[in-house]
């Protein structure tokens, strides 16, 4: 236990020491992406918007489902925050492997790579949120003081993402198959989460399993505070938070302890 405490102190101290590198690395990735693609940040809007369009056709024309708010804004909110989660994991999983030269040649805390990958996706989220605001104006959805809980939800999601990201980045460095495996897991996971349809109707054993998925209460939480203006139920969110903290704690300590092997494997 003492070892873990010492590791934690060391990890946090290092992150603090190198905090400017984290900013710098995030800026680098943003600037590079902006310079390399014609659409730049446009992709951050285009992707969830495209998906919203597809699912809107499916769930309003092909078949209909009941949602608390107009379907497009329901789906866009889900996709926006799910995208933050899934693209963070994708980007972070590859972050060590794609920066192999740096990993091999210069020492600094390697957590910087997955962390900056998440921050880049957070910037995308902010850009994508502008469309959500426009949609809310269009559908005349008013915000209430419940919106103040948004940062808390964002924190829970980011902590969860960070924990999984650290494990994925490390795993993908040791075994390059991980990123393909991740794609499979992500598409499964998305359909097991209330991204484009509500999950509360699923009962039975499957329903029990699905309740363990921390992403459902998080995404439902976002809808609740943004679209419904209501405080989300605390129980499932508390479970999700506990899972998120556990993921980050375990992910980070494992990452930190394996870190010295990275230069040999990159």
């Amino acid at each position: 236990m003492n070892n873990v405490a010492r590791d934690l102190r060391e990890m946090l101290h290092e992150q603090w020491e190198y905090r400017e590198l984290l900013t710098q690395m995030t800026i680098r990735d943003l600037v590079v992406r902006y310079k390399q693609s014609v659409m730049g940040f446009g992709w951050a809007i285009f992707m969830p918007l495209m998906n919203t369009l597809i699912f809107s056709v499916v769930f309003t024309r092909v078949t209909t489902i009941e949602t608390s708010t107009p379907y497009p804004v329901f789906a866009y909110t889900g996709l926006l925050f799910w995208n933050y989660f899934s693209s963070s994991l994708r980007f972070a999983a590859n972050s060590l492997a794609s920066n192999a030269t740096l990993v091999q040649k210069i020492y600094f805390p390697r957590e910087i790579f997955p962390f900056s990958a998440i921050l880049v996706c957070l910037a995308d989220l902010v850009v994508g949120a502008s469309v959500l605001v426009l949609m809310m104006i269009y559908y005349r959805i008013a915000i209430t003081p419940a919106i103040l809980l948004l940062p808390v939800l964002l924190l829970i999601q980011t902590v969860l993402t960070a924990g999984i990201s650290l494990l994925l980045a490390m795993a993908n460095l040791f075994l390059r198959d991980v990123k393909y495996l991740l794609e499979m897991v992500l598409s499964l996971w998305m359909f097991a989460t209330s991204v484009v349809y509500p999950m509360d109707q699923v009962g039975g054993n499957l329903g029990m399993v699905l309740k363990l998925n921390p992403m459902t209460p998080i995404i439902e939480g976002f809808r609740s505070v943004i679209l419904l203006g209501k405080v989300p139920p605390v129980g499932p969110l508390a479970v999700a938070s506990a899972l998120a903290i556990a993921a980050l704690g375990i992910g980070w300590v494992v990452f930190h302890r394996a870190e010295y092997k990275f230069a040999e494997f990159a």
Binding site: E17, Y18, E20, L21, T23, Q24, M25, R28, V31, V32, K35, Q36, T101, L102, Q104, K105, I106, Y107, F108, F174, L175, R176, D177, Y260, K261, A263, E264, F265
Partner: protein
């Protein structure tokens, strides 16, 4: 005075020579076989080898240690352990103070970013604070000499500009411990000189420095002590001149093994005819070669070669027939002896004397291993040759020079 220091205490590091397993397809069989395999007595599994074996040294503030050795001796591994990139399998490496590493000075550069953006990125990677980079920014650009290109994406830079910018960032670190890996080879001559000067400033500023290089003259100018590595082991750890002599000896041995022919015997002799390995610059010496060449031809002559070991350059070559000694006709079983009289007009340093025997068709039929000759005590320490000049000076009357010009 800085407080940086570093200690390498009985460091062992092993590597795997074989294939790495980085996909699931390879991993499963590897795991199965690792269950059935045991490490042998040396602590190594199959295909593993020690890149460093029990290496120890210590560098205090104000000291500069050089590390030299042939390729594969473990120099880079030692640096990677020092910079915390690798963790030793046994022993420990303790570095105190802020570490600056002149290793891969452009590793953080991204081709799509401008010079300016990359300076901030690389600075942050090397552990500088943004405000610090901001403060030194103009100096960095100045040092790199990239001037108006600073806002151009560096993919448009020449490789020289790229390296210069990288070194410029590194040169503005304020470390307590500096680790340098063979970076002098960037840029043109004048930039190399600038790097070299900067490194000397670092050494003089009283920090702890470790310098890995193949450039023996840079090593002897910068370092107080030198560690010679060979196959991962410490061959010697001694004051610079002594260590370089050991290293030169190693190089010589390696040459013998490589050529595999030692029928040719080369000796340097002083004015009295006694063999020497050291000479004062400018002194007369005799280089004597004796050989029993294989019966591949009838006429034979010798060629002398003097190589400056620090730089690896052949600085002098002389065939016996070019200085008035005709090729000799040898019957089978007969040998040849030749003696060159030379004035050792050489700068301080280490030289390899070697001889080849050539036949009628001007082919080499036998080669000697180089014999080491150390030249010391010369006024012009950093130059290669001593041109034996004389000089007179006088006072110029006002405007006199302008008239003659």
């Amino acid at each position: 005075m800085s407080t940086g220091s570093l200690v390498f205490d009985g460091v062992w590091k092993k590597f795997n020579r074989g294939q790495r397993f980085d996909s699931i397809r390879d991993l499963v069989p590897a795991m199965v076989s690792s269950l059935t395999r045991r490490a042998n007595a040396s602590g190594l599994e199959q295909k593993e080898f020690w890149a460093l074996q029990n290496v120890s040294f210590e560098v205090k503030a104000g000291e500069a240690l050089g590390i030299i050795g042939p390729n594969g001796a473990g120099k880079s591994t030692a640096l990677k352990v020092l910079t915390r990139l690798l963790r030793p399998d046994r022993g420990r490496s303790v570095v105190q103070g802020r570490v600056g590493a002149l290793v891969e000075i452009a590793a953080g550069f991204h081709p799509d970013l401008t010079g300016r953006e990359n300076v901030f990125m690389q600075g942050a990677i090397m552990g500088m604070k943004r405000a610090e980079i901001q403060r030194k920014f103009d100096d960095i650009v100045d040092f790199a000499g990239v001037g108006e290109f600073i806002d151009t994406p560096i993919k448009r830079y020449s490789s020289g500009m790229n390296a210069r910018l990288g070194f410029a960032v590194a040169a503005h670190l304020e470390p307590d411990v500096l680790i340098i890996d063979e970076v002098l080879s960037v840029g043109d001559l004048s930039f190399q000189e600038k790097c070299y000067e900067r490194m000397q400033q670092f050494v003089r500023s009283g920090i702890a420095v470790v310098f890995v290089s193949h450039n023996l003259s840079a090593i002897s100018a910068l370092c107080d002590r030198v560690l010679v590595l060979r196959q991962g082991q410490v061959q010697t750890l001694a004051p610079t001149q002594e260590a370089i002599t050991v290293y030169a000896g190693m190089v010589q041995e390696a040459k013998v093994a490589e050529v595999g022919r030692h029928e040719v015997n080369v000796q340097a002799l002083d004015a009295d005819g006694s063999p020497i390995t050291e000479v004062r610059g400018g002194a007369p010496i005799t280089v004597r070669v004796s050989a029993y060449p294989p019966p591949d031809g009838r006429h034979f002559y010798a060629e002398l070669q003097v190589r400056h070991l620090e730089s690896g350059t052949v600085i002098y070559r002389c065939q016996s027939r070019a200085v008035g000694s005709e090729p000799l006709t040898l019957s089978p079983g007969e040998g040849l002896e030749a003696a060159w009289s030379i004035r050792a007009n050489l700068g301080r340093g280490h030289y390899g004397l070697s001889c080849a025997i050539l036949n009628d068709r001007h082919r080499w039929v036998a080669v000697s291993a180089p014999t080491l000759l150390t030249v010391n005590e010369r006024e012009s320490e950093n130059a290669l040759v001593y041109l034996d000049a004389t000089c007179e000076s006088r006072v110029l009357a006002p405007h006199e020079a302008a008239v003659t010009a």
